[in-house]
C-alpha cells in the first residue's frame, strides 16, 4: 500500500475484511456440521461409538478449539 491510500486500496481492504468475516463463519459452520455428523454417528453406532466415531470426535474437538469466530482487527501488545 502506498503512503497515501487510494480509493482502490480502501476497496481492497474492505473486500479483504468481508472475506475474512465470511471465512470465519464458514469455519464455524463447518464445526457445526461435524457436530451433527458426530451426533448421527453416536446414535447409529450405539455401544461401538467410542471406536467408530473416534475420528469425528477428534475432528470436532479440534474444530471447536480452532474454528472460533474472529474479527479482522489485530492489536499488538508488548
Amino acid at each position: 500500500m502506498s503512503a497515501v491510500p487510494t480509493m482502490d486500496d480502501y476497496r481492497t481492504e474492505l473486500k479483504n475484511r468481508e472475506n475474512h468475516v465470511r471465512e470465519s463463519w464458514v469455519k464455524a459452520m463447518e464445526a457445526r456440521l461435524v457436530r451433527e455428523e458426530l451426533q448421527k454417528c453416536y446414535r447409529g453406532e450405539g455401544v461401538n461409538h467410542l471406536q467408530n466415531c473416534k475420528e469425528l470426535a477428534e475432528m470436532y474437538t479440534r474444530m471447536i478449539r480452532e474454528n472460533k469466530i474472529k474479527g479482522y482487527t489485530v492489536i499488538e501488545t508488548e
Binding site: 474492505l14 474472529k70 474479527g71 482487527t73 489485530v74 492489536i75 501488545t77
Partner: protein, 500 residues
C-alpha cells in the same frame, strides 16, 4: 426506504400544525398515532428486506459527498434493531399520554414525532459529525417536554440537569470529531475505520468519546441527571428516555469506540469494566433505598445498562450480541415498568411515593398480574429476552475476566431484591388507607403494556431471530490481541547461525 422512515414523522408533524387545539385534540392524537404506526410498518418491511449475510451498509442513500458532514445514510445489523426499537416505541409513547396532557397537546405530539425522526437519524447516518448533530439535537425536544409537561415544580431543575449533563459531556465528543477531521480529512464512518491511528492518538480520542457516552449511558459518577429526569418527565418521555436515549450510548460504544478505536478500547477495557461493575452495584443498592417508584425504575435502568456495557467490552461475540439483546429487552421492559407505575398508578393516585401504596391486588388484579410479569422480566427470568441478554453478556465478560464476571453476576441477586421489594410492597397486604378505591387497568393501558411484554417473550423464546442479523455485523467488532514479535530472540538466533 430509510428516507421514508425519516420523513414520515416529519410529514405527520406538519399535518398537525394547522389543526386548532380547541376543536381537534382527538384528531391530532389520531394523526400522530397513525403516522407513527405507518413508520413502524415501513420499518418492518425494511427488516424483511434486510440481508443478514452482508458486511456492507444496506439501503444506502447518499445526498452529498462532502468530506465533512457526509450526508449518507444506511444500516447494518447493529443499527437495524435500534431503528426497529425506535419505530416500535414511538406509537406507545403517544398512546401513553393519551388522556393526561392538559394543555399544548399539539406541540407535545409534534415533539415526539420530531424526536422519532432525530433518533432514527442518529442510528442511520454514516458520518461522525452528523451522528453528533443528531445525538445532540434530540436533547432539545426532550428538554422542552420534561420542562413543560413534567410532573412537579422540580421539573425545570430536572430538565436542566438532563440538558447540561449531556451537553457538557458531548463537548468532548465534538472536540474528538474535530481532531479526527483535522488528521484524517473526513468524518465518514468507513474512512475513519480504515485509517490507521496510533495508540496514543486513539487514547485521547477514545477518552473524549467515552466521556460523552458515559454521561448518556449513564455510568457512575455521571448518572445524577437520569433518576431526576425520569421521575419528573411525563410518561411518554420516561418511556422514550428508558427505551432509546440510553441506547444512544450503547450504539455509540459499538459504532465509534469499538469499531473505530479498537486499540484504545482494548487498552481501556479494564477501566470501563471496573466502572461498569461499580455502577452496577452502586445503582442496585441505591435502588433498594428509593422512595419514588419512578426513580426506582430509573436506578434499575442504570444497573441494567451497566451489564450491557460489560457485555460490549467483553470482546466476545457472545458478550456483544448478548449486550445488544439486553439493550432491546431493556428498551421494552423498562418502558413497561414506567407505564405501569408511572402511568397507571400515578394517573389515578397522583403520587410516586412507594409508602402510600399497598394491597393493590385487592382492587386491581389485572394490573398486579401484568406488573408481576413485567417485574419478573425486569429481573431477567428465563423465557424473557432480558434473561437471554443478561446471561450472554455475563458469559461473555466471564470469558474475558472471571472476577469481573462474578461481580457482574451480583446483579442477578440485587435486581431480584429490588424487583421483589417493589412488587411485594405495592401489591400485597391490606389496602392502603391513603388510596381511594379505583377500577382496574383500562383497555388503553392494557394495550400499551401488552406489546412490550410480547416482544420480550417472543424474542426470549426465539432469540436467534435477532442473533442471525447480528452475527456478521458483530464479528467485525472483535479484535485479536497478539504479542509483538520478540526481535531480540530473532537477532540472537541469527547470531547463532553465524549472521546468515
Amino acid at each position: 426506504m430509510l428516507s421514508a422512515l425519516l420523513l414520515i414523522p416529519l410529514i405527520g408533524s406538519l399535518a398537525l400544525l394547522p389543526i386548532s387545539e380547541e376543536s381537534g385534540v382527538t384528531r391530532m392524537k389520531q394523526i400522530a398515532l397513525t403516522t407513527s404506526m405507518v413508520n413502524f410498518i415501513v420499518s418492518i418491511v425494511l427488516w424483511g428486506e434486510f440481508d443478514s449475510s452482508s458486511l456492507q451498509y444496506q439501503f444506502v442513500q447518499e445526498f452529498n459527498t462532502l468530506s465533512f458532514c457526509h450526508l449518507n445514510i444506511g444500516i447494518d445489523g447493529i443499527s437495524l434493531y435500534f431503528v426497529l426499537l425506535t419505530t416500535f416505541i414511538t406509537p406507545l409513547c403517544i398512546l401513553s399520554n393519551w388522556d393526561n396532557i392538559k394543555f399544548g397537546m399539539k406541540y407535545f405530539l409534534i415533539a415526539f414525532l420530531l424526536m422519532e425522526t432525530l433518533l432514527i437519524a442518529v442510528f442511520v447516518v454514516l458520518d461522525l459529525m452528523l451522528f453528533y448533530i443528531f445525538f445532540e439535537s434530540v436533547l432539545i425536544p426532550m428538554f422542552l417536554v420534561v420542562g413543560i409537561w413534567g410532573g412537579s415544580v422540580t421539573r425545570i431543575r430536572a430538565s436542566f440537569l438532563l440538558f447540561l449533563y449531556t451537553l457538557a459531556g458531548s463537548l468532548f465528543m465534538l472536540l474528538s470529531i474535530m481532531v479526527i477531521y483535522y488528521n484524517i480529512g473526513s468524518t465518514d464512518f468507513t474512512v475513519v475505520s480504515l485509517s490507521n491511528m496510533s495508540l496514543d492518538a486513539q487514547k485521547v480520542l477514545w477518552l473524549g468519546f467515552f466521556l460523552s457516552l458515559a454521561v448518556k449511558s449513564p455510568m457512575v459518577p455521571f448518572h445524577i441527571w437520569l433518576p431526576r429526569a425520569h421521575a419528573e418527565a411525563p410518561l411518554g418521555a420516561s418511556i422514550l428516555l428508558a427505551a432509546l436515549f440510553l441506547k444512544l450510548a450503547t450504539y455509540g460504544y459499538l459504532r465509534i469506540l469499538i469499531t473505530m478505536l479498537p486499540d484504545a478500547t482494548s487498552y481501556f477495557s479494564p477501566l470501563v469494566q471496573t466502572m461498569a461493575v461499580v455502577t452496577l452495584i452502586y445503582s442496585s443498592l441505591a435502588t433498594l433505598r428509593q422512595t419514588d417508584f419512578k426513580a426506582l425504575v430509573a436506578y434499575s435502568s442504570i444497573g441494567h445498562m451497566a451489564i450491557v456495557i460489560l457485555g460490549l467490552f467483553s470482546n466476545t461475540i457472545v458478550g456483544i450480541e448478548g449486550a445488544i439483546a439486553l439493550s432491546i429487552a431493556h428498551g421494552v421492559i423498562s418502558p413497561a415498568m414506567f407505564a405501569l407505575v408511572g402511568g397507571v398508578l400515578y394517573d389515578v393516585h397522583h403520587t410516586r411515593t412507594i409508602r402510600y401504596y399497598r394491597g393493590l391486588a385487592v382492587y386491581m388484579p389485572v394490573f398486579v398480574a401484568m406488573f408481576f410479569i413485567t417485574t419478573a422480566f425486569n429481573m431477567a427470568v428465563p423465557l424473557s429476552l432480558n434473561w437471554v441478554g443478561e446471561a450472554l453478556s455475563l458469559a461473555g465478560i466471564f470469558q474475558k475476566s472471571p472476577i469481573i464476571g462474578v461481580l457482574g453476576a451480583s446483579s442477578i441477586v440485587l435486581s431480584a431484591c429490588y424487583s421483589i421489594f417493589l412488587f411485594n410492597r405495592l401489591s400485597f397486604g391490606a389496602y392502603s388507607q391513603y388510596l381511594s378505591f379505583t377500577t382496574d387497568i383500562s383497555r388503553r393501558e392494557f394495550m400499551l403494556v401488552l406489546p412490550m411484554l410480547l416482544v420480550a417473550l417472543i424474542f426470549g423464546i426465539m432469540p436467534n431471530v435477532i442473533f442471525t442479523d447480528l452475527h456478521v455485523a458483530v464479528t467485525q467488532l472483535l479484535y485479536a490481541v497478539e504479542p509483538v514479535a520478540d526481535l531480540t530472540n530473532i537477532e540472537a538466533a541469527v547470531d547463532a547461525l553465524g549472521g546468515k
